[in-house]
Amino acid sequence: MNNGSAPPALVITAPGINCDLELCRGFELAGARVETFHVQRLLREPSIVDRFRLIGLPGGFSYGDDIAAGRVLAQLIRQSLYPALAAAIERGVPMMTPCNGFQIAVQAGLLPGPSAGAAWPDEPAAPSVGLTQNSAARFNDAWVRVEIPSNTRCVWTRGLTFAPGTDLLPCAHGEGRFVADDDTIAALEANGQIAIRYAASENFNGSMKSIAGICDASGLVFGLMPHPERYTRWTQHPTWTRLDPSQRQGDTPGLRMFRSAVAHAAGVTV
């Protein structure tokens, strides 16, 4: 990996964020150069965001997720970090927000974002989609089969194809049930903003329309409940010991998502 040409990626940590290392690893394996910043620092110096070409908001239990998942960190971002993040997206910076990151993004006004062509508002928009308690009201760790909608604009998943047997992603959450009103969902579907879905009979958390992840209208901001960053080597696959070696060739589906975004970012000018 030639660090000279490697696009710089910002990974944001906060109290209770605990999937930062695997997210860093995903960016690095895909050829990015990663720097991690604590949100306290970014809240004081939002301009730090400006020098990055990729952004990751990792999973975890930010501030304990005690009120609701992601609520407190989303509030903090809305208050002072939102403008810098919105500006980054307008600059063309891909952003991945898995799990807690997704929960934070939808409450911080980062997803689903403004409609196609519209500029990002100066003030964060009120949440229009929710990620709430799994229908079984219980945390669940499981690998589930997923599908990429053919019309998605998501920079991270567009054109991603899975081979049978490896079309899985790991999930681990208690509040991942995607909820929105019908119009919102219809608009997301029409605009190709559904980035990833749970396959038939795999929708364990009861999400509307089996939605596992969405993107903004530009396709840059990717929020999802599953953890692609936990699927960047084949020996993470839950039944890899029975996969034929030929099925374990090349990049894992999780890593391919990072590759797409890093390739896109390589073209972004700061």
Binding site: T13, P15, G16, N18, C19, L21, E22, R25, H38, Q40, R41, G60, F61, Y63, G64, D65, D66, I67, A68, R71, V72, Q75, L76, Q79, Q107, A126, P127, S128, V129, G130, T132, Q133, N134, S135, A136, A137, R138, F139, N140, D141, A142, P170, A172, R177, V179, A180, G206, H227, E229, R230, T232, R233, T235, Q236, P238, T239, T241, R242
Partner: protein
Amino acid sequence: MPATIPAPSTDSVVKVHRIEIRPRRGQADPRGAAVLRQIESLGLERRPKRVDHAAVYLLEGNLSADEIGRIAEELLADCVTQAAEIHATEAAAKSRIAPGVAVIEVHPLAGVTDPAAESVQLAIEAMLGKRVEVRTGDRYDLHGADAKIARAIAERLLANTVIQAIHDAPYLPTSFPHGHPYTLAIREVPIRGLKDAELEKMSRDAHLFLSLDEMKGIQAEYGRLGREPREIELETLAQTWSEHCVHKTLKSTIRYHELSTGPSSVAWSLAKTAASRPHHEVQADGTILIRNLLKATVAAATHELIADGIDWCLSIFVDNAGVIAFDDEWAVAFKCETHNHPSAIEPYGGAATGIGGCIRDIMGTGLAAKPIAATDVFCVAYPDVEELPAGCLHPRRVLTQVVAGVRDYGNRMGIPTVNGGVWFDNNYIGNPLVYCGCVGLLPRTAIKGDVQPGDRIIALGGRTGRDGIHGATFSSAELTDTHADEFSHAVQIGNAITEKKALDCILAARDQHDGPLFRGLTDCGAGGFSSAVGEMGKSIGAEVHLERAPLKYDGLSPVEVWISEAQERMVLAVPPSKLDRLKRLCEEHAVEWCDLGVFGTPTKELVLRWHGTEIGRMDTHFLHEGIPTPTREAVWDPTWNASQKHQARKPALAVGGRFGLSERSGDLAKALEALLEHPNIASKAWIIRQYDHEVQGMSVIKPLVGPASGPGDAAVLQPVPTSSRGLSIANGLATGLSSDPYLMVLAAIDECVRNLVCVGTDPSRIAILDNFCWPSCKDPRNLGSLVRAAEGCYDGAKAYRTPFISGKDSLNNQFVTEGGTTIQIPPTLLISGFGIVPDVSQCVTMDAKRAGSVLVIVGATPGRMGGSHVELITGASGGTLPVTDLAIGPKTAHAIHAAIRAGIVRSAHDCSEGGLLLAAAEMAFSGGIGLEIEPATAPGADVGLLAKCFAEDPSRYLLEIAPSDLPSLTKILGTLPHAVIGRFVERPVLVLKGAANDTVEIPLERLRERWAGANW
């Protein structure tokens, strides 16, 4: 629906406001539905039709209506799915109760940690720049329940009155209780003049739980000093000398002898080999004197192994955890703790603080290790237990709450719980066991700290409160039906995020370009500051200014500050030159810290001050070495031990005679299905999937394996992403054999090794931990069985060359009922093990891979059925206990590893609970590959078919290999007994052959369903 905002109040006085958050109309209420499901399990004659849940927030502060509205709408409610309701008065809150609804509200008692409240306070401060005091609670609207039923449901399901208050109406106090500033009063405790009886009384009444010898030791010391002890000094001694902290029983001198009378199954007698064992002396009268049992057995084995060439043990028994080499650059640490007594009284908080404390042990190992995995093993009564003694929580509640506690703490910390188990026995009814283990990764350069005089005593993390006071002494006492009331203050709720912040901060301080910012650290566990500071300042002394500790609330006395076991606190020894940099890191990570004083005093004494005034002064040598070690009597009484029957549930197969099973395939199948359903064996997926067992992305072999999520033998991690080297984690537990703890321990060590070897671990790179949980060892007969267990540790560790690197003991696990009957737990020894997997790409799982493979059993089946699960399900008993062959066991482990390294093993499975047939069935249904099996063909000409199917003889493995690889396998196994006992087939069935060549077919799906077990 906008919040109903009350008219702006003119008064600007501080008052309490109430906000309710519930799902919007039309939105699902999963939490309420879940409670309704749990109510079903209570089997009440009348139960509610529906339950609605709402989160309740009480805010005390000077807030305008507008501010309250913002807090409700922007912070507390999710505008997409939730609605907020604001109540200015209790009347307003009560006004909205629908007819036919009984309301239950549950709120934490004053002083109980409330993590949600802490984050709301933080968020409000960021939002409004105002400091507001917050309390949280839960409201349940029970539709179609009367107040009486509602109360019953609340007590049995929704609240634990040890830490929570139940209200039968919406709760809105006019103000929160607040502490009052403490005014110093130094209490001297006259002890020098006391008689023995008075000393004993004082020990119990003051919750010191010190023995008469120890009280007299203290009396003598203060006689020598010519003064009375001050209260804080006495408390410090009680903490430091508690069983929990010094393992005084295991370290004491023991006089042991064996009774050979009675129906003894004892093949093994210590008397025969005592003379050749370290620190053992055979006395003239035939009794055996053991000086420091721990040193003479568990530790001795490790030291002998090191002397005999094992060079990868880097730190043993001295630190918070044992440390071994992972590779040239990295080391791994492992610690396992129990948190039994707190979990008996408050399972959720007890288990959460159990795992939290064990994680801190890892954080406090060397110059800080990064926790990368956790383990948990629980021992509880059967969920269908018929009698529940007063003062005991129902085992179903204990287990589900313990799991929830580990889940909420481990998941929030981002530490994957990757391995564990549950063992059921009704003698755990009043004293369940909760084992929590944690594995850490640290650079080999950070293995040892070195505290210097002049280093500042820096405490960071959580604040100090009254919580957890006397936890150390309490854990050393015996549980009774009144403990819940008496010791509620020893029970705590943890706040994982406080600990996660401290962890992030400490690791950042460790990984500075010019080396760590601290010279030593340890966690505040049992005994709080008193043991943390006392331990670190052991040889140089320390001066502590107790008023400097940040408090959760006013009014703590210096004694309380000193011994509080409030969670999430670490103590660091920081050179003054590095203090500023540490301070900056703490600020960046929003971690609270304080400078408690300095390590090192001219006289090497421990000096305690409060606003300058000296309130305590102690000689560290007396504190740490002064504890009297009287000789304790121990007797091995086989008859009595055999009479300590396991309390099993009603046998699933009500059949007469010994097993009452014929050797026909139909009977074998019937027993197999009953075994699959036994709680010890049935799937633990309902627990495992509640844990984020993959966070940190290191997992290689997960706890559930194969397409049908079968029971993996061990977990494997890849801790260093750039290295293909793996770390495997497993445990061994053989409580079924507790009628002879010597044999029990050997079987547990063998099982732990088997589990590790099955996934690809190198058996010559395995280290293990001991965790003794025993009934009261004041009873010489229990101490006798403990001695045998310890001797088993010595023999087992040496034979397998698996050094013990750390351990812990809990030696008072019994429950005294109202009626005065004592329920002793079965002697329980958990062996936790971890080892090196040379190359993760060679890992093997237990799920069958391919039709056409053959199934090979490796190892002999003498057919000893004692303590087996087939005894449990048939109600048979009295079988002889399996004996582990200390020559064959290790030899077999190495041979299996050689076969795996040769790449000829498609799947491997440890043959343990339930026996050969059960293990084979697990392989088949886990992989979804059919199996034709003929157990009779297993080695052993004179062994019956029942024994071959269901005996739990140790040192046996099942391997799936290609027929063409049989010759190479035979070559590797050499003289070790082995045989092909089955063939894997396409058809998804188990075809089982009986004694008379009769066969039965069972669909794999049916077997899997039996095993998949109830979802709690």
